[in-house]
Point group: C2
Chain length 129, copies 2
DNA sequence: CGGCATCCTCCTGGATACTG
DNA sequence: CAGTATCCAGGAGGATGCCG
């Protein structure tokens, strides 16, 4: 995901271009389908094992699961705890940063739930041409 | 974007599976990099022409611009007004639905601005291995 | 169990050229 | 100006197999 352009914060002031590139990049990294779904699951459950997350997000392949978890870990959103036992046991949980992101996305989930009918209606109207 | 699994709303109650699929699909449709950036621009400017949006989001190709605007229009997020003059003049603006989505994403932008340093730090820590 | 490596396919998305 | 059409490369992402 490359880093696009200019952004003026909701507060109104124009951001320094360096920060801005970072922010846009960050939005791209974080506003990802799998990231969002995993974030949701971890927020609900607190802590989950690798395979548990897979079960809760059935449409994700384990490749994407690994990949997404790794990216989230790199971005400081999740913590990964390996218990040195056989068979292996790895727990994933949200960091404080991850939890704050979950809270930030809460508004979007609510929006989606509230307006999914409107969107569906809009789609049908649009498609009828 | 296919439609994944189960979702429990922030309010806590388990959603009806039909709504749920829609919501997840909606998240996928809406949590898209270009959609977010265009949403931001239209929210700031109120109304923009096709080429003006392109100028404000320099990294977007005009193909993706057309495509994303069309999808947003279909989802009822933007309204498209064609002025029948030569040369053509087309205005794009947010609908009420689009504005409400912009408001919902506001929290995410703020999060990104507030925590981009933490994320960068986390990345450096992670990469140092 | 929780991965990583490999292979292979498809779709996204960029570049370019053409039109009303 | 605001698109549509075409071509093409690269990356996303699924399937499978192996390892600690």
């Amino acid at each position: 995901m490359n880093a696009p352009a200019r952004h003026v914060s909701p507060a109104g002031e124009v951001a320094d271009p360096r920060v801005e590139a970072l922010v846009n990049d960050l939005i791209g990294a974080v506003a990802d389908k799998w990231t969002l779904l995993i974030l949701e699951e971890l927020e609900q459950a607190g802590t989950l094992r690798f395979s548990e997350i897979g079960r809760r997000v059935p449409t994700i392949s384990q490749k994407m699961l690994t990949q997404t978890l790794r990216a989230m870990e790199r971005n400081g959103l999740v913590s990964r705890t390996v218990h040195p036992v056989v068979p292996p046991h790895v727990d994933y949980g949200l960091t404080d940063l991850g939890q704050s992101l979950g809270a930030a996305f809460c508004g979007v989930w609510i929006w989606a739930e509230k307006h999914c009918d409107s969107v569906e209606a809009a789609r049908e109207r649009f498609d009828r041409r």
